[in-house]
C-alpha cells in the first residue's frame, strides 16, 4: 500500500439529546460518505462508523436511534444510563470509536457532513491532531448567545493561559489516537477541549458555513450554558487557584510591611490613640499569615485538582510520521 492509495477512515460521533426530528437526516447524509470519496486536496476517506450516543433527552431520540441502527449497518448506538451532558456523551463515543479519525457533530444538522473532508484536508495538510470547524456565519444562535460564548472562551483562555486558538466548537476532527487517549483519562468534570489541549498543541481551526438548525428549541438553557462555562473555567487548569495563592502571598507581604511601619511610627513618633498600633499590627500580621497559608494550601490543592481531573504527566504516542496526520490512513480498497 502506498501513501496515495491509503484511505482515511473516520468514526463519526454524535451525542444525541434532542434529535428526534433531525437525526435521521444527518445520518442519511453521513451514510452517503460510506463509500470512498476524495477530498478537495485529494485525500481518500470514508466514514467507517457512525456512533450515536443516546444522552437520554426528553424527546423520542432513543426510538430514532434504534430505527437508524436497524436501517444502516454503519450505525452503532451507545446507550447512556441517564443524561450526562454533551461532553460526557462525546467522550463515551470517542471511547467506542475505532477509526483513524474521530469527527464529532451535533445532532441538529447545523454541521454539514461534507465539511468533514475540509477538516481532514486541514488536518493532513498541516499535520494537525485536532481541527475545529468554526462558524463562518456566526452560527444560527442569537447574537446574545454568540457574544457570551465568545466572551466565555476569551475568559477561559486568560484563566488557562493558553496561547492556542480558542475556537472551540462541537464540530471537530480529532486523530483517533488522541481521541481515544482523552476518553481514557478525562475525569468526570472535564471540559473536553481543555483535556485535548493537555496532550496536543497541534490544534487548528477552519471556518465553515453552519446550516440553520432544523429544530427550533436549543438543548441548552441559560442555566446549562452557565454550568458549561463554569466547567470550562474550572477545568482550564489551576490558574484561578494560582491567583488565590498570589493574592495571599501579596497581601501577606503588604501586611508585614505595614505592620513594620506602624511599629516604627509608634516607636519613633508615637501614636496618640491608645492601643491602635498594637491592634492594627495584630490584625495585619494575622491577616497576612492567614492569606499566605491559604495561598500555600491553594498550591497543594492545585496539584490534587490536576490529577483529579485526569491530566496526565505525559502521553507517549506513535511517531507522527507514520500516523494518518501525515497521510497514512489505515483503510484499504475493498477488493
Amino acid at each position: 500500500m502506498t501513501l496515495q492509495d491509503s484511505i482515511h477512515t473516520i468514526s463519526v460521533v454524535i451525542p444525541v439529546y434532542l434529535g428526534e426530528l433531525t437525526l435521521g437526516k444527518v445520518v442519511r447524509e453521513l451514510a452517503q460518505l460510506e463509500r470512498v470519496s476524495r477530498s478537495g486536496s485529494g485525500h481518500l476517506y470514508r466514514v467507517a462508523e457512525i456512533i450515536l450516543i443516546n444522552d437520554c433527552g426528553p424527546d423520542g431520540s432513543a426510538e430514532i436511534i434504534r430505527q437508524l441502527a436497524e436501517q444502516f449497518p454503519l450505525v452503532r448506538p451507545v446507550w447512556l444510563s441517564r443524561n450526562f451532558g454533551q461532553h460526557a456523551a462525546t467522550i463515551a463515543g470517542m471511547a467506542a470509536s475505532s477509526a483513524d479519525w474521530v469527527a464529532t457533530l451535533d445532532e441538529d444538522g447545523q454541521h454539514d457532513p461534507t465539511d468533514i473532508s475540509r477538516l481532514l484536508d486541514r488536518a493532513v495538510g498541516s499535520n494537525m491532531g485536532v481541527v475545529y470547524a468554526t462558524p463562518l456565519n456566526g452560527g444560527s444562535h442569537s447574537s446574545f448567545r454568540n457574544l457570551t460564548s465568545s466572551a466565555a472562551k476569551r475568559l477561559a483562555s486568560i484563566l488557562s493561559g493558553s496561547r492556542g486558538p480558542l475556537n472551540f466548537s462541537s464540530f471537530r476532527l480529532v486523530s483517533g489516537e488522541l481521541a481515544r487517549s482523552v476518553a481514557a483519562y478525562a475525569g468526570p468534570s472535564v471540559y473536553l477541549d481543555v483535556a485535548l489541549s493537555w496532550i496536543t498543541q497541534d490544534v487548528s481551526a477552519i471556518e465553515v458555513k453552519f446550516r440553520d438548525e432544523l429544530r427550533h428549541r436549543s438543548g441548552y438553557s441559560l442555566g446549562k450554558l452557565l454550568g458549561h462555562f463554569w466547567k470550562l473555567a474550572v477545568t482550564t487548569g489551576t490558574r484561578p487557584l494560582r491567583l488565590v495563592s498570589l493574592v495571599g502571598a501579596l497581601t501577606g507581604v503588604i501586611g508585614f510591611v505595614l505592620a513594620a511601619k506602624i511599629v516604627f511610627d509608634r516607636v519613633v513618633y508615637g501614636i496618640a490613640a491608645q492601643g491602635w498600633a498594637s491592634v492594627f499590627v495584630g490584625i495585619l500580621l494575622i491577616g497576612g499569615a492567614v492569606l499566605f497559608s491559604i495561598g500555600i494550601i491553594a498550591e497543594y490543592l492545585g496539584i490534587v485538582v490536576r490529577s483529579a481531573l485526569g491530566q496526565p504527566t505525559y502521553l507517549a504516542v506513535r511517531d507522527p510520521r507514520s500516523t494518518p496526520r501525515y497521510g497514512w490512513g489505515t483503510g484499504e480498497m475493498d477488493s
Binding site: A95, G176, R180, A184, G187, S322, T330
Partner: protein
C-alpha cells in the same frame, strides 16, 4: 488471500480475525474442535483443514496458529500435547497441492528469550528460554521450518511480547493489565509476585494482530520467502515497568489499584528487565495505533461491563 485462524476465540486469534475480517471473505468456523482430547482434536483439525483447503481453491492462503493452552508455567506433558496437535496440522498441510500459502506460529517472546541477559532483544537474538513452554515453542518453530523447506510453503514465527486486551483468558497465570483492571472493578487487592521495577513490553491485542496480519501479507507477496521460516518480533515501541503500568491504570480508572507486592523466590526465574525491539519497526509502527491509556481503558470498560452484566465471575 484466504485466512484460517486456529484458536480464533483467544486473545490474539480473535484480534487477528477482526483485523483481517475487514478485507477478506471469511472462512466460516462451523466445526468445533474438541481440544480436551488429543486424538479427537487431531481428527477435528483434519476436518477443519480439509474444508479450508477446498474453500481456498487456487488462491493464496494463510493459516495462523494461535491455539494452545500453553503458558510460561506449563509442564512438559501439557506442551507435548500442543506440539502433537501442531505437528498434525503441519503434516496435513504438507500434503496440499496449493503451496502458495503461509503458516504462522504465534509464541511468547517473553518465554523464548526468558534467559537472555542482553539489554535489547530483537529478531537476531538467539533463543534462550529453558522452560518447557519455550523449548516446545522452539521445537515447533523448527518443525515449521522443516515443513516449509520441504514443501515451499512460507512460514512466519511471530514472537509476541506481553499482549493485553479484551478476551484475555484469566485462567492462565498472565494478563497483568486485565487483572489490575479487574481488581479495581471489584475493589479487590491484587498480588504481584515480581518487583515493581520489572520492565516488560506490552502491546494491545488489536495492534499485535494488525502487525501479524501485515507481516503475513507482506511475506506472502514475496517470492523469495517461499520455503523459508521468517521470524518477526511483535512488540510495541516502549517498554514499561510494572509500577508505571499501575500508575497508568490509576490514571484511567481514577482509583488506585490495590497492589500487594509479594516478591517470591520464584520471581527470580524471570528476568528483571526485558527490553524487546523489532528490526522491522518501519514496517510495523503504523499499526501501533493504541496508546497505553487507551488500551487500558478498553480493558477496564470491558471488565466494568462484565461486572454490570454479571459475567465478571466467569472472567476472573
Amino acid at each position: 488471500m484466504k485466512v484460517l485462524v486456529i484458536g480464533h476465540r483467544g486473545l490474539i486469534g480473535s484480534a487477528v480475525l477482526r483485523s483481517l475480517n475487514l478485507k477478506n471473505q471469511e472462512f466460516g468456523y462451523k466445526s468445533k474442535i474438541r481440544w480436551e482430547q488429543t486424538q479427537e482434536a487431531i481428527i477435528d483439525l483434519e476436518v477443519l483443514l480439509s474444508s479450508f483447503n477446498s474453500f481456498v481453491g487456487q488462491e493464496k492462503w494463510a493459516i495462523i496458529w494461535s491455539a494452545g493452552k500453553g503458558h510460561l508455567g506449563s509442564t512438559y506433558d501439557e506442551m507435548e500435547t500442543e506440539e502433537k496437535l501442531f505437528q498434525s496440522v503441519l503434516r496435513t498441510v504438507a500434503t496440499w497441492t496449493n503451496t502458495n500459502g503461509l503458516i504462522g506460529l504465534v509464541s511468547s517472546a517473553g518465554a523464548i528469550w526468558s534467559a537472555s541477559s542482553t539489554a535489547l532483544i530483537s529478531e537476531k537474538s538467539p533463543p534462550s528460554g529453558q522452560s518447557p513452554y519455550a523449548l516446545s515453542k522452539i521445537r515447533q518453530e523448527e518443525m515449521l521450518a522443516e515443513t516449509c523447506q520441504r514443501t515451499r510453503i512460507r512460514g512466519l514465527a511471530a514472537r509476541v511480547s506481553s499482549v493485553y486486551g479484551i478476551n484475555q483468558d484469566l485462567t492462565k497465570p498472565q494478563g497483568l493489565i486485565s487483572r489490575l483492571c479487574a481488581s479495581t472493578v471489584a475493589r479487590r487487592s491484587i498480588e504481584i509476585y515480581v518487583p515493581l521495577e520489572t520492565t516488560r513490553n506490552f502491546i494491545f491485542s488489536d495492534d499485535a494482530a494488525s502487525m501479524i496480519a501485515q507481516a503475513s501479507t507482506k511475506i506472502l507477496e514475496e517470492d523469495g520467502s517461499r520455503g523459508q521460516l521468517t521470524t518477526r518480533v511483535i512488540c510495541s515501541r516502549d517498554n514499561y515497568s510494572i509500577a508505571s503500568i499501575c500508575k497508568a491504570v490509576e490514571l484511567v480508572v481514577h482509583r488506585k489499584p490495590l497492589v500487594v507486592s509479594k516478591v517470591t523466590r520464584e520471581a527470580e526465574r524471570y528476568p528483571l528487565h526485558f527490553n524487546l525491539r523489532t528490526d522491522y519497526f518501519a514496517e510495523f509502527s503504523r499499526f501501533e495505533a493504541t496508546t497505553l491509556v487507551a488500551g487500558i481503558s478498553t480493558v477496564y470498560k470491558e471488565m466494568l461491563s462484565a461486572f454490570q452484566s454479571g459475567r465478571f465471575a466467569n472472567l476472573t
